[in-house]
């Protein structure tokens, strides 16, 4: 097995035994189950879970990612002292953090739908889109978390920056977009709004899932413009590509930092 594969498999072993990861999966499961028990339709449950995903997934990935990187720093140094290339070690470490976190979230979200599949029709398309969006959001935010932890040595400052990033992505960004839309309402902002939507992974995830649910009222200004401009399937493909870029670009920056930095 390659170095990256080895490190990945042992990190997965460590994380799947973590009570935090179990709590994360159980949390999604319990909320999904509750929504079904309170009489929600499967479409409504997807929509409710989406709102949770857009808030909780970035928070969990950013904070858990930053804390995990800091708490395993000494072990990372021990691994760096072995005769292995840094790049492969990095790939194993980040993959071993992203995959269990994504899988725990996706499992927790999907399980209630599987359990209730006999009683009502499962909206497969929207559900799969929700899971893909959640996994993409986890990958993007975990890569950002690793980048933050590699850039900032001080643990408290790193956690602070991670929380600030979460606040910016989930709240401040939308406020800024609304402010721009309000201030320049006489201008043709369609392209600007599409650009702004693609510049925030949370906005991308929201637009992709809502477009599958066919409730444009929930899409927000940028999402509605996006759908109008690209149509559903092409738009979704572009948005998913943007989400992949959101995971890939911070990953590549973090890898470069990991290869060059002093420990």
């Amino acid at each position: 097995m390659s170095v990256a594969g080895l490190v990945f498999s042992f990190r997965v072993r460590d994380l799947v035994r973590s009570p935090w990861l179990a709590a994360y999966a159980l949390g999604f499961f319990a909320i999904g189950e509750s929504l079904f028990w309170f009489g929600g339709t499967a479409d409504q449950v997807v929509l409710s879970l989406l709102n949770l995903v857009l808030t909780v997934v970035p928070l969990a990935a950013l904070v858990f990612g930053v804390v995990y990187v800091y708490s395993t720093r000494e072990f990372t140094e021990l691994l760096l002292a072995q005769p292995i290339p840094r790049r492969q070690l990095f790939v194993g470490l980040v993959g071993g953090l992203t995959v269990p976190l994504s899988a725990a979230g996706a499992l927790g979200m999907a399980l209630p739908f599987v359990l209730h599949a006999g009683r009502q029709a499962v909206p497969v398309g929207p559900l799969v889109t929700l899971l893909v969006a959640a996994i993409g959001l986890t990958a993007a935010c975990t890569a950002l978390a690793v980048l933050i932890a590699l850039w900032i040595d001080d643990r408290l400052r790193g956690i602070g920056v991670a929380l600030g990033t979460w606040l910016a992505l989930t709240l401040l960004y939308d406020a800024g977009v609304l402010a721009i839309a309000a201030a320049y309402d006489r201008w043709p902002l369609d392209k600007v709004m599409i650009g702004l939507m693609l510049a925030n992974p949370v906005d991308i995830a929201r637009s992709v899932v809502i477009s599958q649910l066919d409730i444009p009222a929930m899409m927000g200004y940028s999402g509605a413009v996006f759908r109008q401009a690209f149509g559903s399937s092409i738009g979704v493909a572009i948005a998913l590509l943007a989400l992949v870029s959101w995971a890939l670009v911070p990953f590549l920056f973090a890898r470069r930092r990991f290869e060059r930095r002093d420990f």
């Binding site: 097995m1 170095v3 080895l6 490190v7 042992f10 990190r11 072993r13 460590d14 994380l15 035994r17 973590s18 708490s71 395993t72 720093r73 000494e74 072990f75 140094e77 021990l78 691994l79 760096l80 002292a81 072995q82 005769p83 292995i84 290339p85 840094r86 060059r260 002093d262 420990f263």
Partner: protein, 253 residues
Amino acid sequence: MITFDGIRKAFGARHVLDGVTVNVAAARVTALVGPNGSGKTTLIKILLGLTHPDAGVISIGGTPVDVTGSYRSQVGYMPQAANFPSHLRVGEIVELVTALRGGQARDESLLDAFGLRADWDRPVGTLSGGTRQKLNASIAMMFAPSVLVLDEPTAGLDPVAAATLRDRVRRERDRGRAVLITSHVLSELEELADDVTFICDGTVRFAGSIAQLREATGESRVEPAIVSLMRSVRRADPVSDSAVAPGVATEPG
């Protein structure tokens, strides 16, 4: 065995190592001593490839170390902090490091000596700090490295384990390994060290054998001799060049 030649390292405006040249001989235990912040840990991290030097070359057995890090198969490292992923088991940690070293043959006698077999299936997070440190020591010495780097090795160990580790360090030295050790427990260095390199403010202030250290400071024991070195540096009164081992560069104090 290990030669640090003109190693320089600055973090921003702070020059941590300023042209350090040190030799660590095979079949010798070399103690790297100096006050806090003197550059000892940075020098060790440069040897291990954890930190990149601004200038200078490190050679092991006459061969300059390369950027691929393959030379690290000759190096065993015991860090001061014994932190492992808390949900991995003792056996899994050993299995991982063995696999990363390409399945190098391992000597598990230290695992037995420390009684770690009893904890083989326990998650590392449930072990005491001392037991984790035993695991660190076992991993460092498991793959018969020609170079051993021990950073505060007995910190956190109980007296029996510390004695076991000291015996093992002597045995490794007698097998021809080059041992580089840092410790603030000067009595421990008295027992273990053959040579002493004293670093302060990023420069080597003394390098020589224990006998030369005693002669240079006029002290019969290592502990007061090193304290005397530290005091002499604080008074900006460098130890005379005559105390420095031949072939080892020193910097003006």
